[in-house]
Amino acid sequence: MNKNMEWINRQIRLGRILIAAGLIVIIIGIVLPGIVSGLQFNPRIITGIGIVVLGIGISYQVRFGPVVRDAQAARRLVSEERDERMQLIRGRAGYRAFWTAEALIYAGLMWVSFAESGSLPPVSTDTLWYFLAVAVIVPFIVFAVGMKLDQDRL
């Protein structure tokens, strides 16, 4: 088996592990409220994490599964995955997303600190939830837009 096929098979194995882990986490999220009473958090969070892990595992199968018996297609896919221009684009997009996340989290930290000292109104749990949701989504959008822009530019 050549190196490309070995790499593809490794990705497929990783995908299967992620699918299994995702399913286990989803089941835990579903059965946990029935086993443990008085949970201090919403068990849907666990189910949500499981769904994300399962989705990543399935995406691995969809991307790498079809080329497992085609050496030429496998070679091309590995070339695309390891392509230096693509790595540069991912790196640049990641750099932008990192600094966006850093700025948002810093702003949140300042906000909470000023609220603690009474300079700003106190932060409610709802507001904090929305802020954290923005801090998760916005860097992802910055990453995706950065990827698209650099793919067109470079």
Partner: protein, 69 residues
């Protein structure tokens, strides 16, 4: 950086995909290189020059003025 990639590839009669397969990059990278939008790493530059049997200086034309733009 300017280069003679498209010219040399045409001389060899290779498609962009064939050249991409030979140097193990995506076709999009070859397109970007030919359009002068992307400058390759030293490793890729060597691999490309090796495919055409020329030196890097013959394939890529370095311009100091362009470098400072």
């Amino acid at each position: 950086m300017k280069n003679r990639l498209e010219e040399m590839r045409s001389q060899k009669g290779w498609t962009q995909q064939e050249l991409a397969d030979r140097v193990e990059v995506s076709r999009q990278t070859i397109i970007s290189l030919e359009r002068g939008r992307y400058n390759p790493s030293i490793t890729l530059a060597f691999r490309l020059a090796h495919q055409f049997g020329v030196s890097i200086e013959n394939l890529f034309i370095y311009s100091e003025e362009e470098d400072y733009e």
